[in-house]
């Protein structure tokens, strides 16, 4: 067992390394990490709306003046959620510029400018009586918000690659005398590549529209992003993603981190879509959000390990497992699983493989049943990682969320019981075998 760290040259480990080494996936993961606080704050604006300014559910029932704040909370929400494609394009352009060694500021601005050239630059105006007021200059939510996210990401990759190649061509650099400050030289060096790229982008946008009849962002949303959302937001898709992430944890690798380049854009679009739906007076329809993941799927730590700390501390006959379970209980309440994963260890441990890998899928299934029955609703308030169990459920999903969490906790705890019993029997047998051979206890035998 001492050399299990040497056995990591296994298929999934290579996948994890490749994902993290990949320029695009790694930059995408970092961009969403930087943007996550804004998603959380934007979703909390919805909470403020319902608690403070709403005349049905908030303090405004008794203090009608508070209803005036409604616009402020809606604005907060718009500035983060309904606007998210622009900051993501900037962040991703910036990250890729660092990897490509092109000037960061110029690349980021170029990416935004190029993106704007391929989306509609006008919006339909509606007059107060509902009549068509013609078009007005502006960017619509389809381009700014989550619906533009995929093409924003794709276009940023295309543009940064073009910029990297063109910047490397000596002939495109404008020669400046040595006395000119480097900052000015650099911006002149970018001039011709920027001109060529924006021309390409804008012309491509127009030709694309002539060929297909729709703008690039609308086409990508309909053909690529929307079908992907439907697949990943289905019950089967959610369970598969949860179990897949857990397979990495079984190898001792942070599963959530590995799948975050795929998962986090979907989370972001989902919570934005839910908030937009509620603001429009409709039902939120996207179950899989960041809040759903931390509240239900990795409740009490990935793999339902909060249940193991309870079973281990109360039931196990092994002093080792009792000690680690007590040690890991408080971190597990906050969703941190590492003390158990590496302390028991659960890594590559065949005895605990079944509950450890499948508890996450079971949790996802229970939460999805509750949602399909209408007991809980898709959330509009996201929850940060690290908020203790039950409090996070209440923030994201109300008291119903806490009930669903309790059911998941009971189910995942029961899953551990037979396996802890098997492990106890194994430990007893081993200590008896060793007791017959030499008077050492099992802990020393492991480290020897």
């Amino acid at each position: 067992m001492a050399s299990f760290s040497d056995r990591f040259s296994d298929g999934l480990t290579v996948v994890a390394e490749k994902v993290d080494d990949n320029k695009y996936l790694n930059s995408l993961k970092n961009s969403f990490s930087y943007f996550l606080p804004f998603i959380l704050v934007g979703s909390f604006a919805s909470l403020l709306r319902s608690l403070v300014s709403s005349q049905e559910t908030g303090l405004a029932r008794w203090l009608p003046a508070l209803a005036n704040l409604d616009g402020a909370f809606t604005a907060m929400n718009f500035a983060t959620m309904s606007f998210m494609t622009i900051p993501i394009v900037i962040l991703l352009g910036w990250q890729l510029a660092k990897r490509n060694d092109t000037p960061t500021h110029a690349t980021a601005i170029l990416c935004v400018a190029a993106y704007v050239t391929v989306v509609p630059q006008s919006v339909q105006a509606l007059l107060e009586d509902g009549a068509d007021g013609g078009t007005a200059a502006g960017l619509g939510e389809g381009a700014l918000g989550a619906q533009g996210l995929f093409i924003g990401i794709i276009w940023t990759v295309v543009i940064t690659e073009l910029f990297r190649r063109l910047s490397g061509i000596e002939a495109l650099r404008i020669k400046m005398p040595d006395s000119v400050p480097p900052a000015i030289t650099q911006s002149f060096n970018s001039l011709i590549p920027v001109f060529l790229i924006l021309t390409f982008s804008a012309v491509f946008g127009v030709l694309f529209r002539l060929a297909t009849g729709s703008y690039l962002n609308e086409w990508v949303y309909a053909v690529l992003q929307h079908p992907l959302e439907v697949i990943f937001q289905s019950t089967a898709g959610i369970i598969l993603m949860a179990v897949f992430a857990q397979l990495f944890w079984f190898l001792g690798i942070h599963g959530g981190l590995v799948i975050s380049p795929i998962r986090n854009p979907l989370f972001a679009t989902a919570i934005a879509a839910n908030i937009a739906a509620v603001n429009a007076g409709a039902e939120p329809t996207q179950p899989l959000t960041y809040g759903f993941w931390v509240t239900f799927i990795v409740l009490g730590g990935a793999g339902g390990i909060l249940g193991l700390t309870i079973v281990g501390a109360l039931m196990s006959k092994q002093e080792d497992l009792k000690m680690i379970s007590r040690l890991g209980f408080v971190p597990a309440v906050c969703g941190i699983s590492e003390p158990l994963v590496f302390g028991v260890p659960l890594v590559l441990n065949p005895i605990y493989a079944i509950p450890f890998v499948f508890n996450t899928g079971i949790s996802a299934a229970i939460a999805m049943v509750a949602m399909n029955l209408g007991f809980i609703q898709a959330n509009t308030v996201d929850v940060p990682f690290g908020v203790p169990v039950f409090i996070n459920g209440f923030i994201g999903f109300g008291w119903q969320g806490v009930v669903v969490q309790a059911i998941i906790l009971i189910a995942t705890t029961l899953m551990w019981v037979p396996f802890v019993a098997i492990d106890d029997r194994r430990a007893t047998r081993e200590s008896q075998d060793q007791g017959a051979a030499a008077p050492t206890d099992s802990k020393e035998a492991v480290s020897a």
Binding site: N30, I253, S337, P345, V347
Partner: protein, 119 residues
């Protein structure tokens, strides 16, 4: 697990730390549990070390602030990349998985010391 009180060490907060150990994991959360145990272990050995946790994305911005970087075992797949970023400025290693899970601060302190001595 440790039963000594942190106030007993007399030399804390005096002068520069003799060793700067940075731990890194996905969000810097699970490693921060270990940080407290390592601080306790260092204090009980009368050592003046600076020990802190960060998320693995911020290693680059901390360059030059640490003498050794220890990665949580759950981010072992970034080891090669982090080594490339840190270069020769400090040794980088994955924390012993068992010591990590058990919150065994003294063992991890010893691991960090061994690394800075080039062992």
């Amino acid at each position: 697990m440790t039963d000594q009180t942190p106030q007993t060490g007399g030399t804390a907060d005096q002068g520069e730390p003799t060793l700067r150990i940075m731990l890194a994991c996905a969000l810097g959360m699970s490693t921060s549990i270990l940080v407290q145990r390592m601080k306790d272990a260092a204090a009980s050995q009368g050592k003046h070390y600076r020990i802190w946790a960060a998320d693995q994305a911020s290693i680059e911005s901390e360059l030059g602030n640490f003498d050794v970087v220890l990665l949580g075992p759950q981010v072992r797949h970034v080891l090669r990349k982090v080594r490339a970023v840190v270069g020769d400025s400090a040794p980088v290693e994955v924390i012993d998985a068992r010591a990590y899970g058990r919150g065994d601060g003294a063992t991890v302190i010893a691991q960090a010391e061994a690394l800075t001595k080039g062992e």
